[in-house]
Symmetry: C2
Subunit: 228 residues, 2 copies
Amino acid sequence: MVSKSSQSGAQPRVPLSRERVLRGALEFADAHGLALLTMRGLGEALGVEGMALYKHVANKDDLLEGIVDLVLSEVDLPSPGEAWKAELRRGALSTFEVLMRHPWACQLLVTGGGGSGPARWRQMDNILGTLRKGGFSVELTHHGFHVLDVYVKGVALGTVSFPLQKEDMAEVAEKFLREFPAADHPYLVEHISYHIDSGVLGEGDFEFGLDLLLDSLERLRDAAATGT
Amino acid sequence: MVSKSSQSGAQPRVPLSRERVLRGALEFADAHGLALLTMRGLGEALGVEGMALYKHVANKDDLLEGIVDLVLSEVDLPSPGEAWKAELRRGALSTFEVLMRHPWACQLLVTGGGGSGPARWRQMDNILGTLRKGGFSVELTHHGFHVLDVYVKGVALGTVSFPLQKEDMAEVAEKFLREFPAADHPYLVEHISYHIDSGVLGEGDFEFGLDLLLDSLERLRDAAATGT
DNA sequence: CTGGTCGGTATACGACGTAAACCATAGAGA
DNA sequence: TCTCTATGGTTTACGTCGTATACCGACCAG
């Protein structure tokens, strides 16, 4: 007969908090997707009445911004120093990986102004710092940052919102090829066929473009160093 | 007293159609933004009762896909041939420009699998064809296409979803700098200051990255031609 | 004992997408 | 000319969403 005396009961207390709400929302989104993440639903998942969440979160947008920053805080940051290229590469790959782990976050990241919490600031500062310490001018840093940033988010979002999984892609693509005006789109057909054959769906593609960008930036940096 | 006899009355007839619904939706979104584009609202704008739209459109998603493709049909397509680089550049700039004209379309384009109507097919086929005719291998075409595609959409979306206009940016940025832990983010501060000074907000940035990519692709193409 | 604050609940409102039933008109066939 | 039916618009209604507001129980300071 343990009860009443305020401890030892398993679930009844632990009275919620912004931290717990956000963490719960993140887990809920991972488990059921963004579409099902609703205030009432999240409340239920936390054993609480939906409206209770508003005691810890201003509104749903606030909550969404919160979990985006939580996701962003999972990424490995590049550290400013000599090996700028390797560091940026590592940071970009980590970002990509994290976004693949939380696919719903891509959408939020992109519709909500790209995130603007502490974790995002940290990430931005480290990327910018890595470029600057790597010998890039302020202007080139600015351009390089935006290009890289856009690229990572873009591929992540493209990968995530692509409607097909690798398994059923082949059959769906073949069916598609049968239905649409293939004769008018020879190159598209070739492209899709290539996708079917290689089965690739942005796996190595991400690194391909990333290295392309990093090499290009390096070239620009060196050109600026010798020229002008 | 002209009436009854089926013509000359100004507004009463012209009985709607999928075409008119989509066109109306596009204009509505341009005028009031995506958030206010609601079935009832669009109905009202078309002088009709909301539910009437379902006689011409399967559901709201169908409608959204429809207007995305309508937007996409406005872009200038590259034409396969010798001048692949100039053509791709032109096509990319046109896409960017169109997306700036219909900011809401970025969001749809990106959350909805990137569009998949006739206009999108046409665009893809032309870009792919331009690369192939420009001397790119199937693999390189595939990579190049994705990189360019992601880049254009990414910058467009980033530009659109950036919360500030050029006018108020300076003051907002300065206020921001005062509030957040500036000491811990020296490079971010430098970055923002640069934005304030140069006032630039992705204007020339888009072309910068675009040319970077095109040059890189050219280099890869030439390397593949001489090597292997 | 008392009163206030804090965290959770109950209830309610308005807006959304859309299913289902209904109804007006305009031709086509007799 | 009269009916029959398909087409396109209206009405009503349902369930779900975010959230404003009022409430209420437990805790803690005086």
